[in-house]
């Protein structure tokens, strides 16, 4: 971070020549351009989304009929665990990061993020974490304790304590397999946490410090505000889970006693630490979608966001209150009536700012001129579906009835309405909305509408019905169930719904891929939008704006396109009004950071240090040293490498 500008580009620590490639594989590996990094985040996210989706389909096949033996319990537990971990840590968080990376600097009129190489580092460390996590396929199995990974099942005991099933009768082998899987969980997520923390700091500094002239905080688009709130949530939530994972790692690998009741540890401590992170995490996942929705609805309603200030403060309030509700995940743990009451009240209260957001979106549409493009459909769909998730959230806050709902499929239904209905619908709205900015071409609207309606159908079939099976007594995380509880038909329909979702996602991928070549040429501002990312070319040049715009209002672009008439109405300024005059020759006057090998190299060492803990003795020390030398060496080289070569 504290790069010491070196005087000579050929400093002695410079092992690798400065990368020069502008196209091809190396240009992507070494890039420091926030837009390329955003695109890579998105593509990596899509890969993980498909993986986690396939895992979900396998789970649904297993649950389609009672007493099914399509998957063994061991495989089922690994799949449901990895579905959760992948969707939360390798889809939800990086999906937000991909939008933040690409869109946020454009929306504030910055040329790049504050620390371009740190940004690349975040991405590559995130990839390293994903690879490390899934390396379990070759190392005796994937994590299988659930994404929540409650101790002591995750630490001293394990799901197969005598190893009769997994260890083939050997308790020792069973324990070894268990330890490996838990190391994947704890170290994999710690690595992912480093990536996330680095990008959180990066985004905070970027938003605070790199705004275009005139872009005061209260002129920032809501999306940028939500980025800021999410970055702060990550900044404070990641350390909590980081330490919990660190303690878990010591428990599992080195026999520490943080969560081991036999030696005096208390497993409830893990739950507090996990949910202290886990609840803010929910807002980390959903607030980016709120930001995206708040950009799409005004554009396609042709009105400014209703109650901008309230929207900002509601988002900030949700972020704040998110710290005071974690134990509502633990009502059935037995904290006693006083603690349960306190967390019930805070949880209910958080519904108020959430409600404000929903009503303000409706207020934005009210009286507008709505163009129901695919992006708008997804945004409105997200509001409608999130509302259902929000309402079931209120039912959870009613503690006595929560005792019935918690750990049942009702909860599964609830958070999928929040995260799929809110986050995925919102993010897909964002994909359709910003695709033309990223690629220069529009996505196919007919395919898009089909995509939306099939997703709506499949989503509601799948998760809507889960409310019922949950209330009818079906617990979560069971790999099979007996007939006769009234769950059979609903489970079958749920599985059908899951496949409809899969088909719809396939349509999305086809649409994205085919529009890349065949889509209609978009132009700078295809949606008649309001914010400044639409003022530059599509796709934007690597320096984003030829001339950084001077900001004089919220919805700057809209104000540039309209003037106030004598009657006090807005009238459209004839085309060309939004044009900017090029003063500089961008290729010589704008200094952009050069690409660098070191961020990607620094990421390589981390999983090596993680794998070291799978071995012991000399092997462990050697691997630890190798990983450490790679990472620390790359960080040193990076620190002494100038941001941009002289004379560039």
């Amino acid at each position: 971070m504290n790069a010491v500008p070196a005087e000579s580009p050929r400093s002695s620590l410079k092992i690798l020549q400065r990368p020069k490639a502008e196209t091809g594989l190396w240009s992507w590996i070494t890039t420091t351009d926030h837009k390329k990094i955003g695109v890579m985040y998105f593509l990596a996210t899509m890969v993980f989304f498909v993986i986690a989706g396939v895992e979900a389909l396998l789970l649904r096949i297993q649950l389609a009929v009672p007493e099914n033996d399509f998957l063994s319990p061991d495989v089922y537990n690994q799949l449901y665990t990895m579905h959760g971990i992948t969707m939360v840590f390798f889809v939800g968080i990086p999906l937000g990061a991909s939008f933040f990376n690409y869109i946020m600097p454009l929306q504030i009129g910055a040329r790049d993020v504050a620390f371009p190489r740190l940004n690349a580092f975040s991405f590559w460390v995130f990839c390293a974490a994903g690879i490390f996590m899934y390396s379990g396929v070759l190392l005796g199995g994937l994590p299988n304790g659930g994404w929540f990974n409650y101790a002591p099942l995750s630490t001293t005991v394990g799901p197969d304590v005598s190893g009769y099933t997994v260890g083939g009768g050997s308790a020792e082998l069973g324990t070894q397999v268990h330890m490996g899987r838990m190391l994947l969980y704890s170290i994999g997520l710690q690595i992912a946490g480093i990536a996330t923390l680095a990008s959180a700091i990066n985004f905070i500094v970027t938003i605070l410090n790199l705004r275009a002239p005139g872009m005061t905080l209260m002129r920032m688009p809501i999306f940028v505000w939500m980025t800021l709130v999410v970055a702060f949530l990550l900044l404070f939530a990641i350390p909590v889970i980081g330490i919990a994972l660190w303690q878990l790692m010591f428990d599992v690998r080195f026999g520490a006693n943080f969560f081991n009741p036999a030696a005096g540890g208390d497993p409830v401590l893990w739950q507090h630490m996990f949910w202290l992170f886990g609840h803010p995490e929910v807002y980390i996942l959903i607030l980016p979608a709120f930001g995206i929705i708040s950009e799409i609805i005004p554009t396609f309603s042709r009105k400014p966001i209703f109650g901008y200030t309230a929207m900002v403060f509601a988002g900030v309030a949700i972020g704040f209150l998110g710290w005071g509700v974690w134990a509502h995940h633990m009502f059935a743990v037995g904290m006693g009536p006083v603690a349960n009451t306190a967390f019930a009240l805070t949880t209910m209260f958080i519904a108020v700012p959430t409600g404000v957001k929903i009503f303000n979106w409706i207020g934005t549409m009210w009286g507008g001129k709505l163009r129901l493009t695919t992006a708008m459909l997804f945004a409105v769909g997200a509001v409608a579906m999130f509302t259902i998730g929000g309402l079931s959230g209120v039912t959870h806050s009613v503690v006595p009835s929560n005792y019935q709902q918690t750990d049942s499929y009702y909860v599964v239904a609830h958070f999928h309405y929040v995260l799929f209905g809110g986050l995925v619908f919102g993010a897909l709205g964002g994909v359709y909305y910003w695709y033309p900015k990223v690629t220069g071409r529009l996505m196919n609207e007919t395919l898009g509408r089909t995509n939306f309606w099939t997703l709506m159908l499949g989503f509601n079939l799948t998760f809507g019905l889960m409310h019922f099976v949950g209330l009818w007594g079906m617990p979560r995380r069971i790999d099979t169930y007996a007939a006769g509880f009234g769950w059979d038909l609903l489970n079958l329909i749920i599985t059908v719904g899951a496949f409809i979702i899969a088909g719809s996602v396939l349509l999305l991928i086809i649409n994205m891929a085919s529009s890349l070549r065949r889509g209609q040429i978009a132009g700078d501002d295809p949606w008649d939008a309001r914010t400044i990312e639409w003022m530059t070319s599509s796709p934007p040049a690597h320096y984003n704006f030829k001339e950084v715009p001077q900001i004089s209002a919220r919805d700057e672009l809209w104000h540039r396109k309209h003037a106030v008439s004598e009657q006090g109405d807005y009238v459209r300024v004839p085309a060309g009004g939004a044009g900017t005059v090029v003063i500089h020759d961008p290729d010589t006057d704008i200094h952009m950071p050069d690409p660098s090998f070191y961020p990607a190299l620094a990421a390589v060492g981390m999983p090596i240090m993680g794998w070291a803990l799978f071995t012991s003795g000399t092997g462990m020390i050697v691997l630890l040293a190798v990983g450490c030398v790679i990472t620390v060496g790359a960080l040193f080289a990076w620190a002494f490498e100038p941001m941009a070569e002289e004379g560039h």
Binding site: N2, V4, E7, F115, I243, A256, G264
Partner: protein, 207 residues
């Protein structure tokens, strides 16, 4: 806030909306985050410090307070060394800077050696990571702090080496300042740990 920066200034990479350096802003952001890292570790210790897993002889009574007080004092004084080094380089006094930055790094190393010695003594007395929640939370907390000190010492030595080869001058005092912030933070964490772990008369409040 953006009004203070002029339009033409924004064309330059180093001009910023708040008029503050990106690196320093990032460092303070990181330190805000570090509060939660160390808070979690100290909390675990406070929850477990009376929990001896049936081995009450392995308790905070083992702590050698005079010894730790000395190493605490050394770490505290290293913070003084750090500010004096910063003030020297800001004045352009390269020689003063080298002396003080090296002194700071040495004091940090003395603290680390003290910690390693202390751990060795404890382990020999039967206080191991897996003895009880008390020992687990003690080692993991102080060890995590020790890793931070190690990283700090490495950075300090690097600064010293850069200065010796003439590559670090008063132009780069902001780098020294940021590393200094990190160093002071590691110090204040120890101020809290020293009181919470070593000084509080646990035998009176422990019940």
């Amino acid at each position: 806030m953006a009004e203070v920066t002029t339009a033409e200034a924004s064309e330059e990479a180093h001009a910023t909306s708040l008029g503050l350096s990106n690196e320093k802003l990032a460092m303070w952001t990181l330190l805000g985050s570090e509060c939660l890292f160390f808070g979690a570790l100290i909390s675990a210790y406070l929850i477990y410090y009376t929990n001896y897993n049936g081995q009450p002889e392995i308790s905070p009574a083992l702590f050698d307070i005079p010894f730790t007080s000395v190493s605490t004092f050394v770490l505290l004084m290293s913070s003084l060394g750090m500010v004096l080094a910063l003030s020297a380089i800001q004045r352009g006094d390269d020689r003063g800077f080298r002396i003080w930055i090296l002194a700071t790094a040495i004091m940090g190393s003395v603290f680390l050696s003290g910690q390693i010695y202390e751990f060795t003594v404890f382990v020999n007395e039967g206080m191991r990571l897996d003895t009880s929640p008390f020992t687990s939370s003690f080692y993991v907390m102080t060890g995590f702090h020790g890793i931070h000190v190690t990283v700090g010492v490495l950075m300090l030595i690097t600064l010293w080496a850069r200065s010796m080869t003439g590559k670090l001058t008063s132009e780069h005092s902001d780098v020294v300042e940021n590393i200094g912030l990190y160093w002071h933070f590691v110090d204040i964490v120890w101020i809290v740990i020293f009181t919470a772990v070593y000084l509080v008369p646990y035998e009176q409040v422990g019940a």
